[in-house]
């Protein structure tokens, strides 16, 4: 599963469909480990950055693992392949100036999308943060940048390397302008709404590590609406209702596995199924009603399995790298 060449195929196919796309990396793309990377690992990181450039990535968050080869290495990559690296809270010790851009803004058909980057301040890697730099409180940095972005953006996305669900809950509690968080550093997949007491909410999304999946979220945005309704559940509810209907038919007619069930028990099951169907239909209708007034999204992580062809351009890059080892 995974591989850069398959990821490139998916991205290029979506571009060919003419979709309005923004391609983002939430962090920890280049390295893994607790120590300074070897020269081969650095070469591989350079290859990844080149591939990202060719795939058309539009913003990359600097994760704490990405800092293992030092700031100069990242600056070189940025200069060579024009990679837009983001971090709102990786600062220089002298004067506390930002090392990379804190955010970027994209305008798609009049909808302005603000993207900010956050680096984890947890110290678990050797040599991170590199000498002469420090990672400031990510939540304070997010608060400052998000407030600025909220002035003229319709959607605010945080690319974030905070690495724990507890930290994300704090982030959403304190920075209510954020709509979506694309996370890194938690080692599993997330599709989780975080809803603090204040009434607003944000969605935390993360796919499995090592490039096995590519996350995809399709948005329908109505100018001026704040909330997003999660329509990912719609297909699931429709499937559920179909399945209940099939079971009901079988119990009512006494066919299939229901044949051997006594009639009084069958009636009980039928009642339960009918209630379940009513509840599911009510949920579906509520979802459809909400979606008419609000923004909507559907999250579909794409499994990069062998059904996806490898993109020849990126495959050649990878093969050339391997031959040179």
């Amino acid at each position: 599963m995974g591989g850069l060449a398959r990821r490139a195929t998916v991205i290029k196919d979506l571009k060919k469909e003419g979709k309005e796309l923004i391609t983002l990396e939430a962090g920890n793309s280049l390295f893994k480990g607790k120590r300074s990377p070897s020269s081969v690992e650095r070469k591989k990181a350079r290859l990844i950055a080149t591939a990202y450039g060719r795939m058309g990535y539009q913003a990359l968050n600097v994760g704490s693992d990405d800092l293992l080869a030092g700031i100069e290495f990242l600056r070189e990559l940025q200069g060579e392949i024009h990679l837009p690296l983001l971090s709102a809270n990786l600062l220089g010790r002298k004067g506390g100036k930002p090392t990379f851009k804190s955010h970027v803004v994209f305008d798609l058909d009049g909808i302005r999308v603000g993207i900010l980057g956050l680096t984890s301040d947890a110290r678990h890697n050797e040599g991170v943060p590199p000498e002469g730099y420090f990672v400031s409180d990510p939540i304070a940095a997010a608060k400052r940048v998000a407030a600025e972005l909220a002035k003229d953006c319709d959607i605010i996305v945080a690319l974030s390397n905070l690495g724990s669900f507890k930290e994300y809950t704090k982030l959403v509690q304190q920075v209510k302008e954020i709509h979506f968080i694309f996370g890194s550093g938690m080692g599993k997949s997330y599709h989780q709404t975080i809803r603090p007491d204040g009434g607003w909410k944000a969605l935390l999304l993360q796919v499995y590590s090592k490039g096995q999946y590519l996350g995809r979220i399709d948005l329908k945005v109505v100018k001026g609406a704040r909330d997003f309704v999660d329509l990912s559940r719609k297909a699931q509810l429709e499937k559920q209702i179909n399945s209940i209907e099939r079971q009901l038919e079988s119990y009512q007619k006494g066919t299939g596995s229901a044949k051997s069930i006594p009639e009084d028990k069958r009636k009980k099951y039928i009642n339960r199924l009918e209630e379940f169907k009513k509840r599911s239909e009510a949920q579906l209708s509520e979802l459809e009603k909400d979606s008419r007034r609000n923004n909507t999204f559907i999250n579909t992580p794409i499994r990069l399995d062998d059904k996806i062809k490898e993109d020849p351009e990126i495959k050649e890059l990878v093969d050339r790298f391997k031959k040179g080892l």
Binding site: R6, F31, K44, D65, D109
Partner: protein, 74 residues
Amino acid sequence: MAGLRYHGYGQPALGETFQCWDKKPKDSWGGLITRMAPLIVIFGLLIFCQRVQAVELTLLYSNDTHGVIDPCPT
């Protein structure tokens, strides 16, 4: 400016001519709104359509690639 003395519809005051009465609907606010009604409706519809017209966009995201370039065994 005689017509501005009238607000809404009603009978002309005693002694006023019908010529003066005929001018009234044009000069009054009621007349103005009546004549502007189609424009108001069109603008209203335009604003409403802009409000409900949804823009579709797709965000792709990856994380924690950790230097892996090849497919991993499942």
